[in-house]
Symmetry: C2
Subunit: 283 residues, 2 copies
């Protein structure tokens, strides 16, 4: 017994960490949640700012939780970066990438030609692109080569803006810190693909073949998932199973369109069993 509101929801863009799992632990009801989406015929794409892993690796992680999701339904910021750039540059375009396997794989899959450090430091021709993502092994040399090419006119692209991420040691520097290093060194601001910018959402929408009227972004972070989706014209649902606590929500100027305790709560809503707290709808 669905109400009119739920019937409008045809597609979901799902953030992963804090929504589908926490670290290496799946959220309760994870498999049942995807069963519900498939029963209801609701399309979905998984979207993350993390550019270090490939879609194949995420698909394998989900399989380990008993959920089969093909890599084509998983968009990392590295995937979105490569897909976005492919619309603007011919095949075999040379790219200097500072990142991990997720970024390198995404760029080669999208037919870019990766150049190495030596080429980056000695190349006197035209290298049109520098793409920078998180890399826990990044060195001064890697960043110096990137700075050199940016100085020489290469376009400066960042996979995602996250300046830090939680770890067992406390918050550690993220991709955004390397972007700040290069922006300081070159005076050039990067184009950033990931949330809260619109390009990652646009790539997810493209794969869903969805419209802003029938697609909802589901995430656990107010300033990236929720604010970014709303800025991109999407409705946004906050789940309280991740980083955002109810008290943050109360004091934030960012107002989700829907609020759910977790994905089980969302599944119940989609089945028409309850009506979500809808902050925008109510006002």
């Amino acid at each position: 017994m669905k109400n009119e509101e739920t019937k409008q929801i045809r597609n979901l863009i799902l953030d992963m960490d804090g929504v589908l799992w926490r670290g290496d632990t799946p959220m309760p009801g994870l498999a049942a949640f995807f069963d519900t989406l498939r029963e209801l015929g609701i399309g979905f794409v998984l979207a993350t700012n993390n550019a270090t892993k490939t879609a194949v690796q995420y698909s394998a992680k989900l399989a380990g939780f008993g959920v089969e999701i093909p890599p084509g339904q998983i968009v990392t910021s590295a995937e979105a970066t490569a897909a976005f750039l492919q619309t603007q540059y011919p095949p075999k375009t040379a790219v200097y990438a500072v990142g991990e396997q997720g970024l390198h794989d995404a760029l080669t899959t999208h037919q870019f030609h990766l150049i190495n450090y030596k080429e980056a430091m000695h190349e006197n021709g035209d290298i049109p692109l520098v793409v920078v993502g998180f890399n826990r092994h990044v060195t001064y040399k890697d960043l110096a080569a990137a700075a050199r090419l940016i100085h020489r006119g290469a376009r400066f692209i960042g996979t995602n803006p996250d300046v830090s991420f939680p770890s067992e040691y406390g918050p550690l520097p993220g991709a955004g810190a390397s972007l700040a290093f290069l922006q300081a060194a070159t005076g050039i601001e990067p184009l950033i693909i990931g949330k809260p910018g619109p390009i990652l959402f646009q790539e997810a929408m493209h794969r869903l073949n969805g419209t802003t009227a029938n697609t909802i972004m589901v995430g656990d972070r107010l300033n990236t998932d929720i604010a970014g989706a709303q800025k991109a014209g999407l409705k946004a649902a906050l789940v309280l199973s991740g980083i955002t606590r109810p008290e943050h929500l109360a004091t934030s100027t960012i107002k989700p369109d829907f609020i759910f305790a977790d994905i089980t709560d969302l599944a119940n809503y989609l089945q028409g069993e309850k009506t979500a707290v809808s902050t925008h709808k109510k006002s």
Copy 2:
């Protein structure tokens, strides 16, 4: 035959690269310049933002050019950092340093206790200081450990703010780029010791036992040497033997108190043989 103006000059703070040498080439008249200063009884200290070399290494470089200057008359930003911090912390204070030999030597000479990466990542006690300078071998791990300690409350000190420096490959990232990385990752702004801030100048003044009335800063960079010295209350002399071209000077809002072609021109002025173009004096 000195005029009154030159008689007031009792001390010089001398920037090095672009003033005393260019790369590995001494400026013409280098030895004669120091002979003149000694004949006239003018005190001097050499001061640089470069924190990678030690004062002993600079002294050796000058010896190679036929000029004997003891290390005590050479202040790097690493030396100034260590001397400044020594006035505020007891001996054996623990410091996590991200830098090269110049920084490590300066800190240990000033009785600080350097901790290594492993200690920085696992230390749960109180590490009060993180000091960051240029390091051409810096890695993500080094910076992550620094970020962790800054997050935990360590004071964040930068040796110098230079975001880039010239090289055969073009401009490469300087200490300021690593500071930007850590500022982005932690949200904390560093206290920066080197030019154009006042602390390096203050350390040089301290060694000269000089006053702002009788000491002149001599440098080749408008935005660091000249603007910084003037902000610290010193008069500033620009030499045109380094990075600043006459056309830059014409369009800059920064106005040196004196302008000289090079150190030979300055030596002639100090001997009273000519009157320098004095922009402030004339206005």
